[in-house]
Amino acid sequence: MDETIRTVLAEHGRLATDANTIDDNADLFAAGMTSHASVNVMLALEDAFDIEFSEQMLKKSTFESIASIRAGVVEMAGS
């Protein structure tokens, strides 16, 4: 799962640092991810994991780190 998340971030996150090496808990917005890029990340994650983020999941904290994205994907996949 983490490899897929990092691949999505590398392709869509517009990060200023390497998505393959960034720390699990690093702040992705501080690393350069824009609000518009976070929309692309959300859509790409939905494609990759065959899920759909609910409106309640569309908060900054869901997409602020690899760890929080992982938790969000697990939550949506289990719902």
Binding site: A30, S38, V39, N40, L43, L58, K60
Partner: protein
């Protein structure tokens, strides 16, 4: 009869009363409404790439049917780089949504993008209409009026939103904690 001093003259008079005096402008006079301003810039190519990669799913998750219709290629005033849509106009609307968020200052759960709608009036001007959580945030902050201005070139789109805050909510509201909704564009 001497004419009434202009606002600029009154401000100059006030600021010349000594080094410890504080210049008092329109929004901090007692009883005057507070103003919040948000601005955002979106590269047009970002929207073009999103549209190309995610298609209708991108449009429908971010924009309202009215916004999609306004940005359709059928609008003769736009030049589209993506089939069917003016990506410049879509980018301007996304910038307006983000600029509005900077005015609303949500904490945690962000409003649905579609709850902030850019409506084109019959005169060609645009207005911001809020619904759902975005409307709740505005009400909580005492924001009773929003004005928006959009512009775009072939590379970038920019939007500025001004919100007028009245009542108790205008002095505080939701504190911003989201770097994507603060002034870092």
């Amino acid at each position: 009869m001497n004419p009434a001093p202009s606002l600029l003259e009154r401000t100059r008079d006030h600021s010349s009363t000594g080094p410890r005096s504080r210049r008092r402008t329109g929004s901090d006079r007692p009883g005057a409404p507070k103003v919040r301003v948000g601005v955002d810039l979106v590269p047009v190519v970002d929207v073009a790439e999103s549209l190309e990669r995610f298609g209708a799913r991108y449009l429908e998750r971010v924009f309202t049917p009215h916004e999609i219709e306004c940005c359709s290629r059928a609008d003769a005033r736009t030049r589209s780089r993506a089939p069917g849509y003016s990506v410049e106009s879509l980018a301007a609307r996304f910038a307006a949504k983000e600029a509005t968020l900077k005015v609303l200052r949500p904490v945690g759960w962000r409003p649905d993008w579609r709850s902030i709608e850019v409506r084109r009036t019959s005169g060609g001007w645009c207005e911001i209409h809020l619904s759902g959580r975005a409307a709740t945030l505005a009400a909580d902050a005492g924001i009773d009026e929003l004005e928006v201005s959009l512009t775009h070139e072939s590379m970038v789109a920019v939007a500025v939103v001004v919100g007028r805050c009245v009542g108790a909510g205008g002095t505080g509201g939701h504190e911003p904690d989201d770097p994507t909704t603060q002034g870092d564009a």
